[in-house]
Symmetry: C2
Subunit: 209 residues, 2 copies
């Protein structure tokens, strides 16, 4: 199809498609003349994925670029869900040695409970250290009493995630599903939690206090 049709199919305006091409987010079409190229179903899918990462995941153009770059690389399948994480926003805060030791003790206990590996220095572990220390900084350490419980809830979601990803037929769709599952799954859970907050807090605080 021509670019105009690609635009109609994907719902993405032509000017935006051109911008994605310039930024290298979208694979170039097959040149049919110096001024024209042909696009296929893969391009429609790519465009929908880009839009989802931006509109639902809140990723910037450059973050989308980083995620898609990671996806394109030949990736050993076992690291596929880790790759989906590269380029995604990860909380980063400066933490002192005392704070780090305090957080790592809690994280290691929680990980042991769930059979999870924890490597100090790992990007995700570092992010978790930062989140824990911030709860403490803000005098809300009581939220962490539920850490084991939260981890168990996350583990239940992880099990479902992995099953869905593993059911995909080839590496390309495994990687794509991992990205979609990570980003959209996160958004889904956040929105569900906020919906719960609305209803339950309305009930709780209207009747109670």
């Amino acid at each position: 199809m021509r670019m105009a049709e690609l635009s109609t199919e994907s719902g993405v305006p032509v000017a935006t498609i051109k911008y994605y091409l310039r930024e290298g987010l979208l694979t170039p079409g097959e040149r049919t003349s110096p001024n024209q190229a042909r696009y296929g179903a893969a391009h429609v899918r790519q465009l929908k994925l880009i839009r989802a990462l931006m509109d639902i995941g809140g990723l910037s153009i450059s973050e989308v670029g980083a995620v898609l770059e990671a996806v394109k690389d030949e990736t050993p399948t076992h690291d596929v869900l880790g790759v989906a994480t590269h380029g995604l926003k990860m909380p980063k805060v400066a933490v002192d040695d005392e704070g780090r030791a305090w957080a790592m003790a809690r994280i290691e206990a929680m990980a042991a409970e769930n059979g999870w590996e924890v490597k100090p220095g790992d990007e995700v572990v570092e992010a978790l250290v930062g989140v824990l220390c911030t709860f403490r900084e803000l005098d809300r350490v009581q939220f962490l009493d539920g850490l084991d419980h939260y981890a168990r809830l996350a583990a239940e979601m992880v099990e479902k995630d992995i099953a869905l990803v593993a059911a995909m037929p080839d590496t390309e769709s495994i990687v794509e599903t991992a990205v979609i599952g990570t980003v959209l799954g996160e958004a889904l859970f956040s929105v569900l939690r906020r919906l719960g907050h609305q209803t339950v807090s309305r009930k709780r605080f209207t009747q109670g206090s």
Copy 2:
């Protein structure tokens, strides 16, 4: 304390504190002379909260402003967790009538299961409609087979959230806790899930395929 001390206490550079004052994020100190003001423990707490919302929640300056504005307003307590949501990023996607009807049917079934209220047009419900339709757009509707299950996980987290918020002694700390719990709780869960992904996918895909 003077601004220099406020900077040391909070770990936020003086130039950044001045910027937050200009942007109205931080309550002005008590003027002691035309060029000096005195700050207190409340300012330290405010600065830590601003940093947490930005570094952990990934909020922009203007988003932090919107959240703090909502917090400052006299808010009926029952809406406190709803308020924490204002100013927070919420996925927004255009959805056609057919998509909306399809998504609403699923959402209403899920909500009935959990005893949650669902008002069409509500900001959170709209976001959920968008997320569901995007999963379908991307041909990953199988993720939604777990919708009831995900909602139950979210509901468990909500119960803990509400208990923690309700334990706070006054409206101000209730609202602040709601904001912290919503934003940092979201980050905590995301990071836990990614940690689970790393470990479980490494195990699963190394042994399995």
